[in-house]
Symmetry: C2
Subunit: 205 residues, 2 copies
């Protein structure tokens, strides 16, 4: 038996914010599990506190490079990225894998994999880091796509903002497997099982 | 030509929080457009401000009933639902419909439909409202599923929390169509087009 080499071994340190009150058996802090979800999800959602003190959440596109999650934004977005050097965010990416049909209402559920990140985000300003990250964002669409399209002009480059989110305080919550049933429900005349949910991409260019 | 009757006509009132700084042409306040996204998305993300003043975001399952979005939670969740009567949240649900391959890096994009809600959420405590909402949550899995499974016992009922989010301050952002190209890029020897992204469910019970 061979073991695949994984450059992302190890666990995130558990913190108060990444410790759930319920369903702890569904939570993992394995770095590799978190990175798989971030790399597979097409979008993520970033939450921050607005100037009025109320919460804000926005969907955006992302790419993970090493131990950093980069979020795409425009320089005019309501996160006010242009004006702040580092600010607290919470980011989540979730993939739904199935619908769980149980014999009881209570045990209906979904199979899913979900990452939550807590971090201080910083605006990316280094020209080389920006260039490499835009390239990585494009290459998420299809391998090598950045070499099959025109690179950004200076003007285009200036219109996009990138936010770097360090992957240090991270948890993964997931459910897998089939329906759970109470012993007394086993003989009820109801069908149970899993409906798999799959995201299909029609083709890459 | 017949027009389908839609019970959810009209527009949400636009507010400062639902007015983007950029890409305003992609934003709509049509109630029907927002409800279609909420009804199609399998999960949503709810953001709130934690006791430490930092943002939190959590994925959860939801069902829309009329002009209210109900979020599923446990009574022990970190939202602290049990202890608060009404508190500010921001909720988003996003569906990715396609990957846009453009001839330039800058115009790579995604087709998507995304709803953002700002609201004061309340914990649902009325027994009848709770019962009807749990039933509606189950029926999202498959039509009439709540009649083909055992209803919640009192004990099970007590273990689940429901949060009601009024749908009043809501915006929808969406991108549709094919790649946008700069006129000077039209003759570049790169392929362009859309890869459609579809969520496939293997079957319902």
């Amino acid at each position: 038996m061979t073991t695949l080499e994984c450059p992302y071994s190890g666990r995130f340190e558990q913190t108060e914010r990444t410790t759930p009150n319920r369903s702890r058996e569904r939570v993992t802090y394995e770095r590799e599990a978190a990175y798989r979800v971030l790399d597979e999800a097409w979008h993520c959602d970033v939450a921050f506190v607005g100037p009025d003190g109320a919460p804000r959440v926005l969907p955006t596109f992302h790419v993970r490079v090493g131990d950093t999650l980069f979020l795409h934004g425009s320089t005019g977005s309501s996160m006010g990225l242009g004006g702040r050097e580092g600010f607290p965010v919470s980011v989540t990416a979730t993939i739904v894998d199935g619908l769980i049909f149980s014999k009881s209402w209570f045990h209906h559920s979904m199979n899913y994999r979900s990452v939550v990140v807590h971090a201080n985000a910083r605006l990316v300003t280094d020209p080389e880091e920006r260039w490499n990250t835009f390239k990585a964002l494009i290459d998420r669409f299809a391998e090598g796509r950045s070499d099959r399209s025109r690179a950004a002009s200076d003007k285009e480059n200036a219109m996009s903002a990138l936010l770097a989110v360090p992957l240090e305080e991270v948890s993964v919550k997931q459910r897998t497997g089939g329906p759970v049933e109470e012993p007394e429900d086993e003989d009820l005349p109801y069908a149970n099982g899993v409906a798999h949910v799959t995201s299909v991409v029609s083709g890459r260019l």
